[in-house]
């Protein structure tokens, strides 16, 4: 994937995560911030993120791959999306 497209995707996912999950203005989220293991996103809330990714990037992520580890940072999510974009 082109560098520009990759950065655009990262930014888009980061924006979604902040809008969907972060209520507190004091919280700063980066591409590396652990989302689930740090308690920002609980595992029950992942379904929205999954639906967002599938709709936005026109992909289908199998439930077995939508693990807390795969969703634990924006970088991990981008890697996951890339696997299915390239298929």
């Amino acid at each position: 994937m082109e560098e520009d497209n990759l950065n655009e995707m990262k930014e888009m996912i980061l924006k979604y995560v902040i809008k969907e999950y972060i209520d507190d203005d004091d919280t700063t989220i980066t591409y590396e911030t652990p989302l689930i293991s740090s308690g920002y996103v609980d595992s029950f809330s992942m379904v929205s993120l999954l639906v967002f990714l599938e709709n936005k990037f026109k992909i289908k992520i199998p439930p077995s791959k939508a693990t807390p580890e795969a969703f634990d940072s924006v970088n991990n999510i981008v890697a996951l999306v890339n696997q299915y974009l390239n298929k």
């Binding site: 209520d23 507190d24 740090s38």
Partner: protein, 415 residues
Amino acid sequence: MSYSEKTKNLYLSQLTDIRNAGIFKEERFIHSSQAADIEVEFPSGSDLKRVINMCSNNYLGLSSHPEVIRAAHDGLESRGYGMSSVRFICGTQDLHRELENKVTEFLGTEDTILFPSCMDANAGVFEAILTSEDIMISDRLVHASIIDGMRLCSAQHDTFKHSSMEHLEEKLLLHSDKRLKLVITDGVFSMDGDTARLDEMVKLCEKYDALLLVDDSHASGFIGKTGRGTHELCNVMGKIDIITTTFGKALGGASGGCVSGRKEIVEMCRQKARPYLFSNTIAPVIVSGVLKVFDILSASTERRDKLERNAAFWRKGLTDAGFILKEGNTPIVPVMLFNAKLSQDFSKDLYNEGIYAIGFFFPVVPNGQARIRTQISAGHEMHHLETALEKFIKVGKKQGILGLTKEQIIEKFGL
């Protein structure tokens, strides 16, 4: 023996991790009945200390009420100690059904089923009424027992931002293709003390054809003008499909819980809810006590009215003194300290001053939102509250936080 040294060390290492994380829980032994004044042994082995209890769920002061105790004695004498059976074999007495009818009448629902606890009610209800074709949409701050219940259920799950009706509506739209949609909330949120916006939730559920479940454990008996709960407060009695609640807090404080609501949903629980099917229900002695509690509450609103006055006094006193409180209109009054260590030091100082109130921090509450959670009771007399307020102010001055903003406290103590 299969408990090898390796296995033992595995657990010891995990326990050390819990200690190092500062979240190791220690029990404090109370040598008296549950009340506003209690005698506590803490740490274990130390002399008894008489303290004012500011952290129990004994909202109506009924845990040690003489009429409730007498009724429990009567139940013990007339119906025995235990049932030695689950409900559907030979574990149902007339009193169990009488209590179910009484709860139904009190909450204004169609039917009720008892569970050994509200934890069990929440563990059983979801899998009894939903399948993988359905979706559960819960407020992000619901109680841990609801989270566990949802985990045991094959339905899909999603969440909405705490009390955000806009976000809930987005989620109802997102999942409009599901067979059944169940919206789930606490009535009163136990850590923040705020109440769910049930009137708006009912409207949204009607608009999007969703069911609504409310856990009213921190509300039943005292929220609303006659204490029916948050559905009374929000003028939506008869419109909540499922209410789960406990007898382990305001309603006598012993144990037991229930699912109350639509007749068919209650019947589904009776047929399918595993904690009901595979565990004894509430013991006769407790059923008798809870029946008396409902008699007391149906005869007069005096206790919930006193609780409301006490909570208003306490909230105003702390606010005037310069503490930061979570906004709310319930007897749960969280004093915000933000820093985890400060919350522990503050609790320790209070205890030394004769006030029993616990500090909570991450992961029990969100990171950077450590607090002392105070809980007011109708069992508190004005002298209890005045003394507690005086001691809170003394410790607040010692820690130098009175009148400070959130930012100033964080600057002083860190997050």
